[in-house]
Symmetry: C2
Subunit: 496 residues, 2 copies
């Protein structure tokens, strides 16, 4: 089957490997609508696990979910000047509200009589419509803070799209909070950055650098943008989540004031923060290999697959007498286990398919195993196999899942640490940046220097790290380009 | 506060009562975009409980979630002739993909150079885009069945909108399944009707009649539409969910064939089924009263609220010594409990607020209770209060929640049974229908008779019941209008 033609290898063509993997592992595919993807059930199941982990943490930190309209009046986008400058241009515009039968033939046409008075924009992000709403919710300090999140689809009319990484429509969550003080809003933005880093590292097994963006890379309308940055296997950086301190910008644009305890009117302080289905791209490009997807057990829809090797119904029956109790015991430990005893595919086909789909542990049981009271345990992360005694196998598997989770993270962290180098002069930088990875360099803090570096090398400042990276420090130095003073090294990379 | 101005009573103006309740109980409100609502956190939390109950049952019955594009090419809507006839007219049309700065002034305008070659429609429902996708997923009987669901927003440009009941944008789930045989597809459509009825009756406490639609009321493109119908307190019917057997209509329109076991090509058999945020409207109008929302405990974000009655910090401290362990014990039984010991509002304000929001049980504890080892228990459904001994209160509360759930259902069922009458002649029908409720009548099965009745009385056939209603039978008779033979009584009502 075409599905099992070997994947293009990563060394041959990383980009092609990625595109093939996403489709062959049944994660997503292009739709009939330009730039919009279909998220297939297996890919969506992984996204649901990511969602559940995030949503749990949002609620634990006092947030509530709500839902705001998909469409935004065009005039709203002009309200916050920087916001519209940085954003609102490439987006889907609704101009009419009716179709009618084509009088000249078959099919339907847009009814010219149903033109909207004001065009509506499919939300590229919801700050404007949400702050227009918050205006009605906030009058006193008693109404604050408001800690809302929404799970939604958004749309940005991207010219060049890639599944999960950059699509016209994508799924995300966007938190929008309103506070009485600047300090509280900043603390909120930082808290949500920690939530994102926690999910990225401990659930997705993706090591991330927490930092703040340089002014050039800031969200349109933000005072400060916090971010987590991951390093993909091909040496490119990927921004995995952002949290913005918006100051009073949106409150001023939408005139949202509150009466403080001193009975004076003040503008409200805001944050917004979001992660999207782009995380699926980060997950794939951090862990997977030439055989297909590699999933951290915490996110694997199937954590353990059990494949009996049998020639006939009678053999299968004997094998199932061992397998069924094993399945039950694993389920009792909340392990997501699947028994694949279908006779439609060969064991070889099944092995390749579960490998492609990144199932962390594959167990195989044949007639000889039955005699010997053994079972074959194959790990997806290391591609190693071993024969284990059936005694104590349940605990072994449960522990092994955790070990795989840790191992996948460590592997990615080792790779990132090896790929992170300090560079002190611009000529070396130009040679090193093309090799990929994170370069830690001094920068004079000016947009001009940042732009020059970007124009000449395509590298951008991924972030100004909040903490020293392992084995590095955050001490001052001199800009590698201009020699002017630099407060600390910043992270440069070529980014997705 | 304006919030606690008494609600308009139901007897005074049911429609006004509903609109006020939705806003005052913090469920939803109108947005700046015509016909689109904001679902507020409290309303959204209830919707999340409904979602969770449905999603669990979808997965238990073998379904998986996926995500398909928001936008549908205009030409797709013309493919299934009946579908476009019944549907596609009032919908949001995307014609452009870019804004630009207005050269004549401030703000942004639609860039005329960014006109789409083919207009895109915001999905009013997703049969067309999904069947265009399934074409690529299905080639053999081995690929079947496909049992996908999606949670999504959809848009229908309704002229007159009401919060939850009829909004331009709403949230829903839509299941779309593909099968090798007609029998299997019909069984699927019927199975999902049972799932909907289960959630409506056992979780939402809404009694529903399961039935099939008359041809006039069928979904555009369906061979058979199954539905559940509820009766609201004002005597109007509300369709709470539908499940469609689509035959091979969409498979033919999108040319989706499979190779069967006999190695012959056949068109695939389809179903689709959905419920939406309209269920929130059904929930409100089935149970609530003139004091506000009444929530069945299974869906209440707060099931029990505990309010200490105190004059100073010292009293509060003494009360909290009883309340904190009570809270812990209730939480240990998975009761969603909230302790409101804020000193910003008076107990009276709090009581009215939790009543308005439909919290099933309110516990109040004052200093005299402390002396007597008692606590006041107030039930939202009956508006009764009693003083109970603190001994054994935890089990009492846990049981009471279940009792309230049953009582709410029973009350609604009693109301429906009282409001359901057999009527055998058309003159009586005309008098009775204006009183509201379900009328069980014989009908000759023709669209003409149905249309005549609708034109003359506004009543429609809500469904042809699948089972006899309690106290009634499904025996044949004669049409109340034409006297022609009728297979069984059908349910007439004025509907939302």
């Amino acid at each position: 089957m075409a599905k099992f033609q070997k994947l293009t290898s990563r060394s041959e063509d990383y980009s092609k490997w990625y595109n093939e993997l996403v489709v062959k592992a049944d994660l997503a595919e292009q739709s009939a609508v330009r730039g919009c993807m279909v998220i297939k059930p297996y890919g969506y199941a992984i996204w649901e696990f990511i969602q559940a982990q995030l949503d749990k943490r949002f609620k634990e930190t006092g947030h509530v979910n709500a839902y705001f309209p998909l469409l935004i009046p065009k005039s709203f986008l002009s309200r916050e000047a920087e916001h519209v400058e940085g954003f609102a241009k490439e987006c889907a515009v609704v101009t009419h509200h009716r179709l009618k039968n084509d009088p000249n033939g078959k099919g339907v046409i847009v009814d010219p009589d149903a033109k909207l008075e004001e065009e509506l924009i499919i939300r590229p992000t919801s700050e404007t419509i949400i702050w227009a709403t918050y205006k009605n919710w906030i009058s006193s300090y008693r109404d604050l803070p408001i800690l809302c999140n929404q799970w939604a689809n958004v749309m940005r009319w991207e010219m060049r799209t890639r599944l999960f990484l950059r699509t016209a429509e994508f799924l995300w969550q966007e938190g929008h909070t309103a506070h009485a003080t600047q300090e509280e809003a900043i603390a909120e933005a930082e808290k949500m950055l920690e939530v994102y880093a926690d999910v990225a590292e401990n659930i997705m097994a993706i090591p991330v650098i927490k930092g703040i963006k340089s002014p050039n890379e800031r969200f349109a309308g933000a005072i400060e943008t916090y971010c987590i940055e991951g390093l993909m296997q091909d040496g490119k950086a990927l921004q995995a989540g952002t949290s913005h301190f918006l100051g009073q910008n949106f409150a001023k644009s939408f005139d949202v004031q509150f009466l403080n305890k001193e009975n004076q009117y003040e503008y409200v302080w805001a944050t917004s923060w979001g992660v999207s289905t782009r995380l699926m791209g980060a997950l794939i490009m951090t862990h997977s290999d030439d055989n297909g997807l590699v999933l951290p057990p915490h996110l694997a829809p199937i954590q353990v697959v059990i494949v009996p090797i049998f020639k006939d119904e009678d053999q299968l029956k004997q094998l199932m007498e061992k397998i069924t109790p094993l399945e039950q015991q694993l389920k009792a430990l909340n392990v997501r286990v699947k028994v694949d005893n279908s006779d439609k595919q060969t064991p070889g086909y099944k092995f390749a398919d579960y490998e492609l789909k990144g199932v962390p542990i594959r167990l195989a049981l044949g007639m000889r195993d039955l005699e010997n009271q053994t079972i074959e345990v194959a790990r997806r992360d290391t591609l190693t196999k071993e024969t284990k005694n059936l005694d104590g196998i349940v605990d072994y598997i449960a522990n092994l899942l955790e070990e795989i989770q840790q191992n996948i993270y460590k592997k990615a962290l080792d790779f990132r640490m090896q790929s992170t180098r300090e560079v002190d002069d611009y000529e070396t930088f130009k040679k090193e940046i093309v090799k990929g990875g994170f370069l830690l360099c001094h920068w004079d803090g000016t947009p001009e220097t940042e732009e020059k570096i970007k124009a000449e090398t395509k590298a951008t400042i991924r972030c100004i790290p909040l903490e020293p990276l392992p084995g590095h420090d955050n001490k001052p130095g001199k800009c590698m380009v201009t020699g002017k003073p630099s407060k600390q090294r910043v992270v440069f990379a070529i980014a997705y």
